[in-house]
Subunit: 376 residues, 2 copies
DNA sequence: GAAAGCTTCGAAACCGGTTTCGGCAAGAAA
DNA sequence: TTTCTTGCCGAAACCGGTTTCGAAGCTTTC
């Protein structure tokens, strides 16, 4: 019956096209197309007949054939920046799984790219736009002022950010409530009896770092604890810099008995610093952080942290982006999800006062001076 | 001059199409197309004129417009299986970066999907084929007999495997030389003076596990060491199962003084088992493994391991797949790359004989019996 | 009963490329 | 000079969809 027409080449199975469906029912392609796309000028009976036949014949429209007319590929773009020492790496698998899962559920696909530098990321995004490889983009790890945002805004391409930025006029975003986590951590530590609590913030280029500092300060004032600038250390995003900053904090004249880190990775360095100073985390100094890295479970004692559900974040971002592309108002597409507290052993009541702690450090220091390596 | 034609909708910048280029030069679309695609019936001068003009005008063909006629999207498919406890996770970011980098360099793109179960992976691959979203696929983590392979072979869709399988007739693949790594590890440990060396293999569903067992045995015979079945423990792919298997091996009547693990993750468990038995890795028992996980560097002492360059693997796989899609013979597209030895502290000369080691374990065991938890 | 309106669908153009076919001109062979 | 190639390119069909336009057929209205 359908015969010759679609006898595509070498072995690959002949696809059933819209023309096949039309011929099978004795209608025209245009009728089939409109029926399947919900145009109002098709009789309900006809629509039913057509959609049933399409289903039965196994017809699947070719998204790139549609795209040539509609300009839409049903594909979401995800351009990652992966530098040699990427802090986002552990989340990535879950995040990608979430994004693709949600896309898949909507019969969309995800076009992914990874570039090492900000500049290359920009140009790749540009290329994907030019080639219309994606109908919209998810931007992970947004910076305070993000060049990708300008590019996409200029080109009028839909996008959604994972994380807020300073200026999010007309932008859709999804974020995790990092500020509440930080104030929650302070509240928890204060309830345990700590009175001098320090913070190690993340890199200033990330907007969330400021939010978490704000949350930290709010936590202090909520608990009625005094704030002083020396409670906030230098930014640290890696294990080693975390160790260095923790070392500085703990060798102050009045050291904190508890430290709240903006990111888990820095917290892993705090273990090192404590150990070098003859202190034990969870005993002499309490520690809380944020991210939920699996490595935190392997530390001794386990790191108490606020965990982010990256899978859920990715899948929600994909859903929201699809809505945006379908015409939703970006200002309506904004969501804030809470992280979940993972209680392990690194936060306990203080066993020493700050003064006693300082003495312990001095005693230990007199025995063995410390050297920090600069690699890793 | 070009005016009205391509005044595409709302704000988004007007693309320059092949018709624009043709009009600009006073030739037809077909000439431009053939010139740009290297057809032999275009004069060299014309070809030059056209490609220069295309460059100058910023013309980029729309891959999905090309696809409608050619059937090719210039996109490679990557369908990952990500279950809740995925051992491949740490590699993933680098791997993806490698794949997309190589694709990007060839102005191809990567369409990615992630599914939790084997069945869903299969159906997603099927969908991507039906919708012609990818011209070929990279299959990571190949199983001994892999259902994806049958599917793709049936449909006559090009694909390349990361890892060999039992039956790789007509298949292209890229793999890392795990068997040589294992025999190299044995040779190294034998040279250090170990005479009783055990192996903890990976999951039997993975073909590489058998290869690595073979390599291990070859290492023993090369070193002139006797083999006995009790030198090979139960399979272990996780930290906890690694600990359990190591415990079994080390509590044998004649325990090994060195253990070679098929995967790093299991080796991390060996540290735990050793510590529970009152032994120190690198001192009482030597340890080598394979993968190159970053966590290995944080263990004490650092884990000596054969590291896989996932970025390079991904990028090579993408390059090879593109060649395959362009018509290369799959039997020619097979490559084996060596891992690189990362020397840290876990392999040292034996300090005890197996008999002395057994006695140490017995002495320690009489003091405190061991319980293994089953979570994590 | 004719005009007007509505519903429903066919015909054909269109999207941006690729590919087939054929024709023209120049050069080679007869 | 005529004929046959050969090189080069234009014309038009084609890929698989979407969308515009218009025209039937049926109702409704006056």
């Amino acid at each position: 019956m359908q015969s010759t027409q679609s006898a595509m080449g070498s072995g690959r199975q002949a696809r059933v096209t819209i023309a096949d469906v039309a011929r099978h029912l004795g209608v025209t392609k245009s009728t089939v197309s409109r029926a399947l796309n919900g145009y109002p000028d098709i009789a309900e009976g006809t629509r039913l007949r057509i959609s049933r036949a399409a289903e039965a014949l196994g017809y699947r429209p070719l998204s790139h054939a549609q795209a040539i007319r509609t300009g839409r590929t049903r594909s979401i773009g995800l351009v990652l920046q992966i530098d040699s020492e990427d802090s986002a790496r552990p989340f990535l698998a879950d995040f990608i799984a979430g994004v693709t899962q949600a896309a898949s559920d909507a019969t969309w696909t995800v076009t992914i790219a990874a570039e090492p530098t900000e500049e290359k990321v920009r140009s790749t995004v540009g290329r994907l736009i030019e080639e219309r490889k994606a109908d919209g983009f998810i931007l992970p790890r947004t910076l305070c002022s993000d060049p990708r945002v300008e590019l996409l805004r200029d080109q009028d391409v839909p996008f959604i950010m994972f994380g807020r930025t300073e200026d999010s006029r007309g932008c859709a975003w999804f974020d995790i409530q990092g500020e509440d986590a930080m104030s929650g951590a302070v509240a928890r530590l204060a309830a345990l009896g700590h009175t001098r609590i320090a913070h190690i913030p993340g890199g200033p280029q990330y907007f969330y770092s400021q939010l978490r500092i704000d949350g930290f300060q709010k936590g202090l004032s909520d608990a009625g604890l005094p704030f002083s600038p020396d409670l906030i250390g230098a930014p640290a995003m890696t294990r080693n810099s975390g160790a260095r900053v923790a070392h500085d904090l703990l060798t102050q004249a009045t050291p904190p008995t508890a430290i709240v880190c903006a990111v888990d990775r820095a917290a892993l360095g705090v273990y090192e610093a404590a150990s070098e100073l003859g202190l034990t985390v969870g005993q002499d100094v309490s520690l809380m952080a944020y991210d939920g890295l699996p490595e935190g479970a392997y530390a001794t004692p386990g790191l108490t942290t606020y965990a982010v559900d990256s899978f859920a974040a990715g899948s929600r971002l994909a859903e929201m982006l699809i809505q945006l592309i379908r015409g939703a108002d970006p200002e309506e597409l904004r969501e804030l999800a809470p992280p979940t507290l993972v209680e392990r052993g690194s936060d306990r009541p203080p066993s020493l006062t700050p003064a006693e702690l300082a003495q312990r450090v001095i005693d230990h220091h007199s025995k063995q001076p410390v050297q920090w390596e600069d690699n890793q």
